[in-house]
């Protein structure tokens, strides 16, 4: 690989850690404004290098190997990019940039600690997707998880004690169960190390027996499924996103949730195809519960933040449906959906936090008529809602289209039921827009409505970044699908389906 790719990839992942160490070392010397500036600089650097790394990867075209490794930097873990991890890395970098810029506009106590935790989480997220070593993926995931817990305990809103504990226990349980699955794969295949290449080579030379595949895939599916809030292990998600400080919620819902799906696509299914085939119908049924049951629950929500959280749980169901088809089209659609959903849920969480802060209300029924006071905010909110619904021109559209198309050949009944997910998201999305922005402001709100300011500078920048990338991916989905196709076609597991 040429050196520019190595440099950009390593910078994208390790820059946030380096800047976090800088803030920690200069703790006494700098003030919160300086710390915020350093964090913004770090996110910018990481974003630009991630962009360059992904562009460099994309230019490889059909020459790209399955995993494009980067040179190892001293003793730090080796990184690599593949068709699945490149969009995830870019997603992580984008949402990190947006989250950091949004944090600049907030008034935070203990701002230095906040930014250190934010940067550590960003580094962990970027590293989790690009690590070449499966064990390091798990460790980076923990690097991203522990700051969320600490942040929730310190800056969370009401109900944070229970939510933080629940999140920590569920996610660690999921991570540990999947770790046992990883160890099982390592032990059963007799692979030389925990590297992706070593494990793929070992699987090719000595495929895992069907008996083992059944049980190991079950462990990986349920463990990683807990991380992605698959039914019935989703109860940690809504409260976590409602109580966590917004930047961390954006990073968690937008990026960290996708880690489970990423591991399934890149690691679990290629290594254990027979196991996935055994479990695919169960996975599809559980995913349908996510879509339909959680869809109903989302429609019943009055708290705008809870509504957004539940909707993200529902959309993960759609991604799992794509995974269950085990076809290039379905999984490719899931990848685009992960990308698009990550951006749109981050956008919606940020905007709903802005709305809640401005109106001092969490209840959508008590809002209304904000359109006149905050037209720009309304514009962004409608854009986010349209993206969630799956309007063409946003990335989610391509994802849902591909998933539903591949579901049709997998099982027409499941496809029809899955398509109702579109209806649910349209209903609750548009209802939220109507309740918050249209109509007449309700009693309490109408007293304070003249003091509500429109969306401010930093918030605008953050929202625009997210919307811009959404539209970019929506208009040029080839940027994501071409590398993803190359990768997926190279795995024999994915050519079983259509």
């Amino acid at each position: 690989m040429d050196t520019s790719f190595d440099i950009t990839l390593n910078t994208a992942v390790y820059a946030p850690f380096a800047f976090a160490i800088i803030i920690a070392v200069l703790w006494k010397a700098i003030g919160s404004k300086t710390a915020a500036a350093i964090a913004a600089l770090s996110s910018g650097v990481s974003f630009v290098s991630a962009l360059a790394a992904c562009w460099g990867f994309y230019k490889l075209g059909s020459n790209m190997a399955m995993f494009a490794p980067a040179e190892q930097l001293y003793m730090l873990p080796q990184l690599c990019l593949s068709g699945v991890s490149a969009p995830m890395l870019f997603l992580a970098a984008t949402v990190s940039l947006a989250a950091t810029i949004y944090s600049l506009s907030l008034d935070i106590k203990n701002a230095k600690l906040y930014f250190v935790l934010l940067l550590v989480m960003q580094g962990g997220l970027c590293g989790a997707f690009t690590s070449a070593n499966v064990l390091w993926m798990y460790m980076f995931h923990e690097f991203a998880l522990v700051p969320t817990f600490i942040a929730m305990v310190i800056w969370g809103s009401a109900g944070k004690r229970m939510a933080a504990m629940q999140m920590a226990i569920y996610l660690t349980l999921g991570a540990l169960v999947s770790l046992v699955g990883i160890i099982a794969v390592y032990a059963v295949t007799g692979a030389a190390g925990f590297n992706m290449e070593a494990i793929s080579a070992a699987v090719v030379s000595k495929p895992v027996s069907q008996y083992w595949q059944y049980y190991i895939f079950a462990m990986l599916m349920f463990g990683l499924g807990t991380l992605v809030s698959l039914f019935p292990f989703y109860t940690w998600a809504p409260r976590t996103y409602a109580c966590a400080p917004t930047a961390f919620a954006m990073l968690h819902a937008g990026v960290l949730k996708k880690f489970g799906l990423f591991m399934l696509i890149q690691f679990a299914i290629p290594v254990l195809p027979l196991g996935c085939a055994d479990w695919s119908h169960t996975m599809a049924v559980l995913a349908l519960f996510n879509v339909i049951y959680i869809g109903f629950v989302t429609m019943a929500q009055r708290d705008v933040k809870l509504m957004v959280s539940y909707s993200s749980v529902g959309h993960m169901g759609m991604c799992f449906l794509g995974l269950a088809t085990m076809s290039v089209l379905g999984v490719g659609g899931a990848i685009i959906m992960m990308f698009g959903h990550g951006l749109s849920v981050a956008l919606m969480l940020m905007l709903s936090n802005i709305v809640v802060n401005r109106t001092n209300q969490w209840d959508m029924m008590k809002m209304g008529g904000l359109y006149k006071r905050t037209p720009v905010l309304a514009g962004f909110f409608i854009a986010g809602t349209m993206a969630t619904v799956g309007l063409p021109m946003f990335a989610n559209f391509w994802g849902e289209l591909a998933i539903l198309t591949s579901l049709w050949s997998f099982s027409p009944a499941i496809c029809a039921l899955g398509a109702t997910g579109l209806i649910f998201s349209a209903v609750y999305g548009l209802r939220a827009v109507a309740r918050i922005f249209m109509g007449v402001p309700s009693g309490e709100l109408s007293k304070n409505i003249s003091s509500i300011a429109d969306i401010s500078g930093a918030e605008r920048v953050a929202a625009s970044v997210l919307v811009a990338v959404l539209i970019l991916a929506g208009t040029c989905p080839g940027l994501i699908t071409k590398p993803a196709d190359v990768l997926l076609k190279s795995f024999p597991a994915y050519n079983q389906g259509k």
Partner: protein
């Protein structure tokens, strides 16, 4: 015939150094007036450092050296903790020096207990160490809870020693009948067919299970850890557990089930050990969930760690071919456990009053604000106990999981994973209490400079050792 001169003194260099300096320190403490007491403490510390140096420089068998060093480090840390403890009690330097001498003698006994191949020597060494531990538990003579803890430990320790002795008696008898010397551990595999021997072995194991606080003999641990002075609790929690586990591991390494008719015996033994390990993990973790008092919490954490170590021993029994990896993993796990636990016990002791029997988690509120560095270090140590990467506790648990998988102990693996997840609840409760703002009373947590340095140093070691493991594993 062996004489005083032909005896292999080099093999007991650590114990000899510790005992000689302990006796010297004890005599000097009693004889010398007050102003010399600090020098007497220095003498005791010289003895402990000498034992460490002797072990490392003249290392013959790696396992013996590593185990001995672990116990001496425990003794060093306990002695350091005793300085602030006795200052708060307002007792003279002489009391403190007597305490340090007792700690050193106990450490010598434990090292001999873990290193010996002869059952009788093991029993004598264990009793010697345990008697010193009784003294350590009851050292706060004026404090009712300390005396109560001492009495409880006395009864439990006496009971377990008697059980173990009965076991050894039966093993001796079996040896006399068979014509083999069963006092020497190397002959154990020959005895597995003899009824007396098996009964004896079961009783010995029961005695050691009392020592490491495994199910069903774990009920004494929370009370004794809570009542005893904090330096003693730390020594119980770490050193006696290390000694008990290494002794069990030694016996299990010598048990060879290779002949065909012993396979069913092996299945039974592995099953029993797995059940005990699983029950210990469950009891330890469930007990810790509702616990608000810090010392009892640490006791339950110790019980669940005893369970994880028993998983490791069951894996050794089930899959004897992993013996080389087993020793490394055992020492690594015990080292990680020692560092994290000592940091926490040091922190428990850093409050204004000497007696921490009633200390609860809410006493730590506001620590992050007042002492951010120490609180961060404590969080790292709590994360190591919980098994969060990238601390060494995580790697230790990971290695135990891998060994358990190779030994095909799947149910036990599941229980261990579930136990680790549950344990996150009470470890993270501690971190959460530290992060919460102060209630009505200001935070009393006031670590001395020495304590701060030690806690931070232990946290750095926890991370540095895991970094070394990663580098070592990555370089392969």
């Amino acid at each position: 015939m062996e004489t005083l001169y032909s005896f292999d003194w080099a093999s007991v260099k650590m114990e000899a150094a510790l005992v000689i300096f302990a006796v010297l320190a004890l005599l000097s403490a009693v004889a010398l007036p007050r102003r010399f007491q600090t020098s007497v403490s220095a003498l005791a510390f010289v003895g402990m450092y000498l034992a460490l140096i002797l072990a490392c420089v003249f290392a013959d068998r790696l396992m013996y050296c590593a185990y001995g060093c672990l116990i001496v480090i425990c003794a060093l840390l306990t002695s350091q903790m005793s300085f602030s403890f006795f200052d708060k009690l307002g007792r003279s330097g002489q009391s403190r020096n007597e305490y340090i001498a007792v700690v050193m003698m106990s450490a010598a006994g434990l090292i001999l207990f873990g290193n010996t191949d002869n059952m009788m020597v093991a029993f004598v060494a264990l009793e010697c160490a345990t008697i010193c531990l009784y003294i350590m538990a009851a050292f706060s003579k004026d404090c009712a809870s300390s005396l109560e803890a001492g009495v409880k430990y006395l009864i439990v320790g006496g009971f377990s020693g008697a059980l173990m002795l009965m076991g050894i008696a039966f093993m001796y008898g079996a040896g006399r009948i068979e014509g083999v010397d069963f006092m020497y551990m190397g002959n154990f595999s020959a005895g597995l067919l003899n009824g007396f021997f098996k009964t004896g072995l079961v009783l010995v194991f029961a005695g050691v299970f009392f020592k490491i606080a495994a199910f069903p003999f774990q009920f004494w641990a929370p009370d004794v850890y809570q009542g005893a002075p904090t330096p003693s609790s730390a020594f119980f929690a770490v050193a006696s557990k290390i000694a008990g586990v290494v002794f069990l591991a030694k016996i299990c390494a010598y048990l060879n089930f290779n002949s065909a008719d012993l396979l069913s015996v092996k299945e039974d033994v592995v099953l029993t050990l797995s059940v005990i390990a699983g029950a210990t993990i469950i009891v330890g973790n469930l007990g810790g969930i509702t616990q608000m008092r810090t010392k009892r919490l640490l006791a339950f954490s110790g019980i669940s760690n005893a369970g994880y170590l028993l998983v490791l021993i069951a894996a050794l029994l089930a899959e004897p071919s992993s013996a080389y990896a087993f020793n490394t993993v055992l020492i690594f796990y015990l080292g990680a456990y020692m560092m994290a636990n000592y940091a926490l016990f040091i922190a428990v002791g850093q409050f204004p009053e000497a007696n921490q029997t009633a200390q609860t988690l809410s006493d730590y509120r506001g620590s992050f604000k007042k002492h951010p560095v120490v609180s961060l270090a404590l969080s790292v140590n709590l994360a190591s106990l919980a098994g969060i990467p990238p601390t060494s506790g995580f790697f230790a648990k990971l290695m135990v999981l891998v060994l358990a998988w190779y030994a095909q102990l799947y149910w036990l693996l599941g229980i261990m994973v579930a136990g680790s997840v549950v344990s996150i609840y009470y470890y993270f409760s501690w971190i959460r209490s530290m992060a919460e703002p102060e209630d009505k009373t200001p935070c009393q947590f006031a670590p001395t400079a020495a304590a701060k340095q030690t806690i931070v140093l232990l946290a750095i070691c926890v991370l540095a050792i895991s970094a070394a493991v990663l580098v070592f594993a990555g370089a392969q």
